[in-house]
Every structure is written in structure tokens, then in C-alpha cells.
Symmetry: C2
Subunit: 335 residues, 2 copies
């Protein structure tokens, strides 16, 4: 028996993937690349939620919406576009999707650029979240951590109650979190009833609520007005709602998960699916040409037709500096 | 006033340049690559001796002779081909050139893959060598060393007399050589009267002499017979003659010289002519595409359309291991 409300999968396609440059470009963000096992991360995201959701909404800029359309039409997936004219961060993006839905609809918000491996465990967690959302909670998904990762935020919890949200920790804090045992990785995925999220946003950040409402009210076939959009404060949903609302619950999830947020996590993922490394842990991404590494270890060679990267794995966070330097120079190599 | 004998520049084109793989290939050995300042090393070798020699002889296999021909015809240089059917090392190659010349001709033997920068100093050294060759000496060229290089052989000398030839030393010996002050780098260049070299070869290695003579006697337009050639012992001119004859003199030479025998020496040379390196000493060879290096130092990225090399500079000698491994696998990537 079907509930009268819909379950809507809302895919946030924002994010440039600057830490995966030169693979990820403005014209080809990481979620649309085909390097992960033949399918793009976006396509895998759609597939993963196909049995769960009744509808798909895609929120993002015009370029990403076009790239999304190619994939969604290829797979005959019906969807609704919300086309942002300027990035306003996750609070506004999620508000648009909630305004676009019916008040009783259940929204599952996911990024489009994560890897999740255990489909059954994933569907179980979603099921649990939908039930809590129907009870009026805003659900965040916490991943049971497998190592003291410093690249992720953490959720401190007691049962399904959230005690605190923690920023990316240093190595000492991360080890401490793991030792304590009640910390989860913050996945950036959420589930809630549209009306509940909007109530909480209105209560804790009325300006974002009001201005997002106005932008959505003036949408033309899902296209949002630039001038009105620029007026919305650019803040995250975590800051606007999650860290303030008393209606938050966390679903502790055991599936294999990675945000592929850096070449280090891409490397780990690729190794896990059998991508070749040499005897010193060196890896080639982006070309099948034979590449010899001599005198270097744990180094990633990223080839693209217009730019290359040679990266010692543990310096993966520094890719952003190269990206920023190219951005300052207005380099074509970011496009 | 011209001497009645000719001065012949004999260019040895043998050598695969395996330490410069993947830049250097069987079909395109390093001496024919255009990466060194626009001209190939072979062309620079011809140019450098153009004012000195009356004739040019090219000794090498058929592929190298074809590559040489392209350059020599482009520059309207007349030359004689000696086309080896199988590599028999320098003793035989040099013997062929001496048999091909008149007995009184002065031969200047040079590799085709070295860099020499000071043209005037070079011509001065050649002039000095030719005079000694006319007096009946076999002249070897020693380069005044600028550092305790372990990649070169050394010549211990007293004035223009050779005391000993030394193999590539270890670091301690190399420093000792430099401290002693009477050691020169062995350049692999020679100058002698054809008849004198042949007399000494006959005296010290009659088998190479006799079999090389037979091969040359049966040449067809410079092409040497394979079956006869295979019968010649494969040994170096250093071992067959230089280290044994009492007629050896050394010309101490002050020009800038490199055998470009490894990527480390290629790197040093390219830096000296202004090729870019980043702030950590990393260098790109073979592509103009932007390449970022993160977390690595003194690393050379060698791009070719079919294979790449990522090499920590001080491991340059290990390129040969990769080459040998590919050779064992009969890899196309060596061609």
C-alpha cells in the first residue's frame, strides 16, 4: 500500500570538485566523469535510489543540469529541474526543493558525487530514515567509521540522538573519536518531510527561508532569478538548521561510503575495485598508456589531454592550492 | 696550404640510449631527437665538425644510417655510409672506418649523442689532436672535470701522457680523482691516422683486426655482411687498443661537455639552457601541457604519446632496469 505522500530523491549537483583537478573541471565536474567503474557517480546516485523514490529532483547550475539531463534521459528517469542561477550553498538549495514539493512529501537529499557500495545496507538505512521523517524528524545519515579519517566531519551521537556536529578533526581528535565509539562520519545526506524542514528553517534562519521562498515563487520552469537569488545568504544547511533544530535524528549506517573528496580517497576507492598500482603503490588515472615510476612511492599520475598532475598521495589536500592559483590566473585549464 | 691527407669526421651512431627511455627508442635514438634546443644531437655533432673535417663518415645500423641521411641531406653534407648488419662494439666500428679511409687520413672519431658547448675550445682541442695524430699518436680527448661525477670514466694523465684509464668510480674515488687534479673525464672521442690505429689494433687484437678487415673487404656500397660480422669479437676500442698501446696521448679539453647518458645529465643540460623547472626542481620533458607536481621534488615527468616516465632525478640510472624489463617482455614500447 502506497502512502499518499511522495518520496522524492533530491540530488544536489553543486560543487566543483576542485580537489580532483585536473580530472574534475567546471565543464565536467567529478560526478559526471566516467572513471569510476564505467558509470558516473551521478548515474550511480540515481540508480541507487531508483527503487526507493517516486520522483527525482535535480538542483544545480545550468551546466550541471544539462549534464544530468543527458544521463536521466538515457535511463528514462522522470525528474524535476531546479536550475540555480548562482550558487547559494545547501540551505537555499534544499529550501528550493522543499518549496517545490508538497508539504507532506518525504525528501531524501543526497550529493551526486559519493560512492556507496552496499546497496542493501543503504536501502535499509533509507527505510529507517523515511520512517523517522514520517514521524516529523529531520534525519541525518552518519556512517560508522572504519578509520580515524581527518577528511570528514563527525557526528557525536547517543542512540539516534545527535549530541554534536564536529568539523574535520586533527589526527589526535580523530583517533579520540574512534576510541570513544559514539562518533559517525557526517555523510551530508538528509531525509525529512518538506514542511518540517521549512518550519525549522523559518524558525532558525528566517532570512534564508523568506528569500528562498521568494526566489522559488518566481521560478520559470524551474529556472531561478539571478538578482533575487543573489540576495539569499550563502550558508550550509548544517549551520542553518542541523546544528540548531531539536528535531534532528541520526541514522547510523554501515555501508561502505566515500565522498571521493580528494585524490587520496579516489585512490583508496580505485584500489578497492582493483585498479592497478605498482609495487611502490603508484597509480595512473586517466590514461592506459604504460607509465613507469622510478624512485617515487604512493604517487598518483593524473593524465588529461590538456593538463597533468603528479601527486604524492598524502599531499592530496594541496591540489586545492593549485586549483586556486589557476583560478587567480583565470586559467582555461579549469574549464 | 692543405695537407695531402684528408681529415675525416667519423660519427659513431650506435647506442640505443636505453637510459633515456621512453624518450629514446630503437626507432628514434636520443641522437635524433629534437628536444635539445631545436636541433638533434646528431645534427649538432655534424655542425660542430663542419669547419674541421674534409669528409664525413657515418657508422651504424641501417635505421640510424637512414635517420642520419635525412639530416645530412637536409644540410647538403657529403658523407660515406658504413652500414653495420649487427652491432660489434667500437673496436670493429672504428676499424671499418680506418679500412675505409686512406692510410694517411686523419680520423676524428666522435659519438653522435654528446653535447659540447664551447665551439672555439672544441676546435682548439681538435687542432691539437690532429697535430699529434700527424706525429703518429692515437689521441684520446679528456675533459677537465667540473665535479666528482660518478657517471663517467676517467683518464689519469701526466701532461699529455696517459697513466691509466679508470672505470666509472664510486663517490669516494671520484672525489679523490678531483682532489688529485690530474684526472680527466673520458669523452669517448679519438683522433689518429688510419694506418696507425690499424697497426696498433693488429698488434693488440689481431682477431678483431683480421675479421674486421675481411668484413670491410666484402662490403657492398658500405653494407657489411651479417654472417662475417657476427664472427668479429664484440669489444670496445678502449679495451682493444687504448688501454694497451704505447702510442696514446691525451688532449686535455676545457669545453663544456656532457654525454647526456642519463636523465640526470639531460636535466642538468636543459636547466643550463633555460628549460623550466618548478620551485621544487621538477621538470617536464616531451609535452607543453601544464603539469602540476605536488609533494614531489627533483622529479622528471617524461611524456611520449605511447609511454610515460615519472622519475626522481637521482634514480636516473634505474631507467635501464625498466628498459631491460620491457626488453625481456619483447615490448613494443622500446620500438
Amino acid at each position: 500500500m502506497k502512502n499518499k505522500h511522495s518520496i522524492i530523491h533530491v540530488i544536489l549537483t553543486g560543487g566543483v570538485g576542485s580537489r580532483l583537478w585536473p580530472l574534475s573541471r567546471k565543464s565536467q565536474p567529478k560526478q559526471y566523469l566516467d572513471i569510476f567503474d564505467g558509470k558516473s557517480l551521478f548515474e550511480m546516485t540515481v540508480d541507487r535510489n531508483r527503487n526507493i523514490a517516486d520522483k527525482v529532483m535535480v538542483v544545480g547550475n545550468i551546466d550541471n543540469c544539462n549534464l544530468s539531463r543527458n544521463i536521466l534521459e538515457k535511463t528514462n528517469t522522470e525528474y524535476i529541474d531546479i536550475i540555480e542561477s548562482t550558487p547559494r550553498n545547501t540551505a537555499a538549495a534544499i529550501a528550493f526543493s522543499a518549496f517545490a514539493a508538497d508539504p507532506d512529501d518525504i525528501l531524501i537529499i543526497t550529493p551526486s558525487d559519493h560512492i556507496i557500495d552496499d546497496r542493501k545496507a543503504y536501502e535499509g538505512s533509507i527505510q529507517e530514515a523515511v520512517e523517522k521523517a514520517e514521524q516529523g524528524y529531520i534525519v541525518t545519515f552518519g556512517i560508522v567509521p572504519t578509520k580515524p579519517e581527518t577528511g570528514y566531519g563527525y557526528i557525536e551521537r547517543e542512540g539516534d540522538d545527535v549530541i554534536s556536529f564536529r568539523e574535520k578533526p586533527n589526527q589526535v581528535s580523530a583517533r579520540d573519536f574512534i576510541a570513544k565509539g559514539n562518533f559517525l562520519w557526517n555523510s551530508g545526506m538528509f531525509c525529512f518531510k518538506a514542511a518540517v524542514l521549512l518550519e525549522e528553517l523559518k524558525a532558525f534562519h528566517p532570512e534564508v527561508y523568506e528569500k528562498s521562498r521568494l526566489v522559488w515563487a518566481n521560478n520559470v520552469n524551474g529556472n531561478l532569478d539571478l538578482a533575487l537569488s543573489l540576495d539569499i545568504p550563502s550558508i550550509s544547511i548544517d549551520y542553518a538548521v542541523m546544528e540548531r533544530s531539536k528535531k534532528i535524528k541520526v541514522v547510523s549506517s554501515k555501508f561502505d561510503w566515500s565522498d571521493l573528496g580528494s585524490f587520496e580517497s579516489v585512490y583508496d576507492y580505485l584500489v578497492s575495485i582493483g585498479h592497478a598500482i605498482d609495487e611502490n603503490g603508484n597509480m595512473v588515472i586517466g590514461t592506459n598508456n604504460y607509465t613507469a615510476f622510478i624512485g617515487v612511492k604512493d604517487t598518483i599520475f593524473v593524465y588529461t589531454p590538456t593538463a597533468n598532475l603528479i601527486l604524492k598521495k598524502e599531499f592530496s589536500q594541496d591540489v586545492k592550492s593549485v586549483y586556486n592559483a589557476l583560478a587567480r590566473d583565470n586559467s582555461d585549464l579549469l574549464n
